[in-house]
């Protein structure tokens, strides 16, 4: 496997989607190619960083506001269900 092929299969390698033979080829290349090793390591870190960044909860006060807005909207629908404006 050369560098171009390794990069082509990089996501499949990370996601463990390669068959045994291709995975062995990729690992053999990674043992000898520093640049591809760095590309793999930094891509994995990029994914982890975004996962971590996206894993933060909504601030509690904002969450309560959102729930209150939804409840209000549900109540408003009960008082004035869709279509009632034409039912008179």
């Amino acid at each position: 496997m050369n560098c171009e092929e390794l990069i082509k299969y990089l996501s499949d390698y990370i996601d463990n989607n390669l068959d045994e033979a291709l995975r062995a080829d990729a690992e053999e290349h990674l043992r000898t190619c520093h640049n591809c090793h760095v590309a793999l390591d930094t891509t994995k870190k990029t994914i982890l960083i975004y996962k971590e960044l996206g894993g933060q909860p909504i601030p509690a006060s904002k969450r309560s506001d959102l729930y209150a807005r939804l409840q209000k909207a549900i109540e408003a629908r009960k008082e004035c269900p869709p279509g009632t404006e034409n039912s008179a």
């Binding site: 990069i7 891509t43 960083i49």
Partner: protein, 196 residues
């Protein structure tokens, strides 16, 4: 009866409020973060959360159980977010040109400095966090949505394909391109400011 089946039955009953409340409890945070990732501003993300749950209430009888409730909610939220993006910019921006999934050329990584820091250490850098937001917002919409669903929300390739309405192969290609583009932008920032 499984918990999901019970929840669907409750949602589709005459008194769906409790089931909707439970769905909100479980998925509001994730939907908010997905919308924030797609749209880039908190006000619009809040509106998408509200739109998603109201739409779920309005269209609950149309849920047929061909996907999970979670996938169904993600689909509503993704469509609501994309619809807001289109409202903002009725004409496609150059970066929104359709992505050619078949035969897409994957560029080789250019910036290959080693990163000495762990992801946790890197996230302590406020400027880097801004850079991360900018980088994901600069991705074409079609790549950004797939990246957010797969790598941030941790949905499967099949679920992502179902939500976005593309093939499994197209999800894989878009995810790969998104990861490499984000890696490159982050690598440039790290090399310039953190010395690798």
């Amino acid at each position: 009866m499984s918990e999901e089946t019970e929840l669907v039955a409750a949602l589709q009953s005459e008194q769906p409020e409790a089931a909707l409340g439970l769905l909100f409890e479980r998925y509001a945070d994730r939907i908010y973060r997905l919308a924030l990732g797609i749209l880039g501003d908190t006000g619009s993300a809040e509106d998408v959360v509200q739109d998603t749950f109201l739409s779920a209430l309005t269209h609950r009888q149309q849920f047929e159980g061909r996907s999970s409730l979670a996938t169904w909610l993600y689909r509503i939220a993704t469509n609501a977010s994309l619809s807001r993006l289109r409202e903002r910019s009725p004409l496609p921006l150059p970066e929104e040109d359709p992505v050619s999934d078949e035969g897409a050329v994957i560029p080789l990584p250019k910036e290959l400095t080693e990163w000495r820091f762990t992801p946790d250490q890197m996230l302590l850098d406020g400027e880097l966090r801004e850079e991360l937001d900018k980088a994901v917002q600069r991705l074409p919409d079609s790549l950004r949505v797939v990246f957010l669903l797969r790598d941030v929300q941790e949905l499967t390739t099949e679920e992502t394909a179902d939500i976005v309405g593309i093939s499994v192969g197209a999800v894989k290609v878009r995810l790969h391109r998104a990861r490499l583009e984000l890696r490159e932008r982050l690598a440039e920032y790290v090399a310039e400011t953190m010395g690798g």
